[in-house]
């Protein structure tokens, strides 16, 4: 029994690890894939709050007691308007940015003016020409 258990654990971990490494070639978040310093890609974004009356207010301006750089402190997202290195790859970085938009939209209850957050992203994959994308958070419940 102990021998079989040992086999199962060792082969299980080995297969799982190989699976994670293979998954890293397609996933935005490459957990346990150990792809270190994968790209020299850079990015910057103009992130705005789009209000019910269609105003587009940069998140660099604090609102209702909130401040973007205090709400979003991780993964190099604190100051999106500056051009940054996407240190775990562009797909990973932009996945985090999309998630951050969603999180801020859902976790700023004192804000009754913002309909959604929007990021206009300029991304440079390695030395490729820049690519522009627009991400939006879901429309916020409190502004409906």
């Amino acid at each position: 029994m102990r021998v079989i258990g040992r086999r199962v654990i060792v082969l299980g971990v080995v297969l799982l690890q190989l699976g994670f490494i293979a998954r890293g070639y397609s996933a935005d978040h490459k957990e346990f894939a150990f792809q270190m310093f994968p790209e020299s890609s850079t990015w910057r974004a103009d992130v705005v709050r789009v209000t019910a009356d269609e105003r587009r207010v940069p998140v660099e301006i604090p609102w209702d007691g909130y401040s973007w750089d205090e709400l979003v402190t991780e993964r190099g997202l604190s100051h999106p308007s500056f051009r940054h290195h996407a240190d775990a790859g562009l797909d990973n970085q932009l996945a985090f940015l999309r998630a951050a938009l969603d999180w801020v939209a859902a976790n700023t209850p004192r804000d009754h003016a913002t309909r959604y957050l929007e990021a206009r992203v300029t991304a440079w994959h390695n030395d490729d020409p820049p690519r522009v994308e627009v991400f939006r958070s879901p429309v916020r419940e409190m502004s409906r």
Binding site: R7, V10, F34, Q35, P38, S40, E74, A88, N126
Partner: protein
């Protein structure tokens, strides 16, 4: 049934028996004990930013985070902070327990440390970094390994596989990426960070920003990672791979922010020591400096020290019976101690030492 078809199951059973023998063989687990001692402070270093934030009344819950799964349990803020501190205490206990050979304490502390670190890392996608993933793996294997001086070899094999996988996966991903292997990625990184390179002399700046330099340098980096991943498995290349890996980590530490990766990467290299003890003999005057050095630093119990006559030259008998005397013996002994190995290993390439070992 044809002859090849009949022998196939036998071959399969033979492979399985060999695998079972390899995984179940009783080996020295001193390397894992020493690794526990070293990983304790690394865990403290890893937890430090979380603990520092908690002292200022902040946790991940107050800022952007992204849970992996909605069902993953999240603790109230006070309890979460308590768990982080428990992890820090457990990490200290793990190191202390391993140092003092208190098996029960070591086992409980290692499992607790692993549970806290893994729980915290999996709380949010934003907590995940490669160095933390490696730390979770190392702690997980240490948690299931016996906290004894000897035991079955399977945790050691598993950790060796994971160690090689880290370098192999990193090297392979760069090898398969034309931008990386062709030098574009490193060249672009240097160009973006050129402002930070101003302390370097002009000639160094000129080399580092030269596109052609990166065409070659990128291949050296990729092949270095792959050499470490593969070289660790063969006894002929293992010492070279460990030596190169140490330089590799120090270079990364000097040039990039990688949290605990360098410390962990270097510490885990210990597990590549042959898991047997006292199978080399060192005959030496007990008052000689080398005797004291070996007495203090032979943490993996490489040598059985036998007292020799006062003033006699040191003598090492290797596993294969080869006897080395004098300075080559000193160089050889130092090359087998964890703390001096990196400095002493290159001296084994000196002609005098090579001749002495071949004699």
């Amino acid at each position: 049934m044809s002859a090849p078809a009949a022998t196939a199951p036998l071959r399969g059973a033979g492979v399985l028996a060999r695998l079972d023998e390899l995984l179940g063989r009783e080996v020295s687990l001193r390397a894992l004990s020493l690794l526990r001692v070293l990983v304790g402070p690394i865990v403290l270093l890893h937890l430090a930013p979380f603990l520092s934030d908690s002292l200022h009344g902040r946790t991940y819950q107050d800022v952007f985070h992204e849970p992996y799964a909605s069902w993953y349990p999240e603790l109230p803020e006070g309890a979460y902070i308590g768990v982080l501190w428990l992890g820090a205490v457990a990490a200290v206990a793990m190191s202390a327990g391993a140092l003092m050979r208190l098996a029960a304490l070591t086992r409980v502390a290692t499992v607790t440390t692993f549970a806290v670190v893994a729980y915290n890392v999996f709380l949010s996608t934003t907590h995940f970094h490669n160095n933390r993933a490696y730390l979770v793996i190392v702690l997980g294997i240490l948690a299931v390994a016996p906290a004894a001086q000897a035991g079955p070899a399977w945790p050691l094999w598993l950790l060796r596989f994971e160690c090689a996988a880290v370098y192999g996966a990193s090297g392979l991903s760069k090898l398969l990426d034309p931008d990386w292997f062709g030098g574009t990625v490193t060249w672009q990184r240097v160009l973006h960070d050129r402002a930070d390179l101003h302390p370097l002399p002009d000639w160094a700046l000129s080399v580092l920003t030269d596109r052609d330099f990166h065409t070659g340098a990128a291949k050296v980096i990729v092949l270095t990672e792959l050499f470490i991943a593969l070289g660790l498995w063969s006894r002929r290349t293992r010492y070279a791979a460990v030596w190169v890996a140490a330089i590799f980590h120090l270079t990364i530490e000097a040039s990039a922010s990688v949290q605990v990766f360098s410390f962990l990467g270097i510490a885990v290299l210990l597990i590549w020591a042959v898991p047997s003890t006292r199978d080399r003999v060192l005959r030496i005057d007990p008052r000689a400096p080398l005797a004291r050095v070996v007495g203090a630093l032979d943490w993996l119990a490489r040598f059985r020290v036998e007292p020799a006559a006062p003033g006699s030259t040191p003598e090492v008998v290797d596993r294969d019976g080869t006897t080395i005397r004098g300075r080559p013996a000193v160089a050889f002994a130092l090359s087998r101690l964890p703390l001096t190995a990196w400095f002493a290993l290159p001296t084994l390439l000196l002609p005098a030492v090579r001749r002495a070992r071949a004699a």
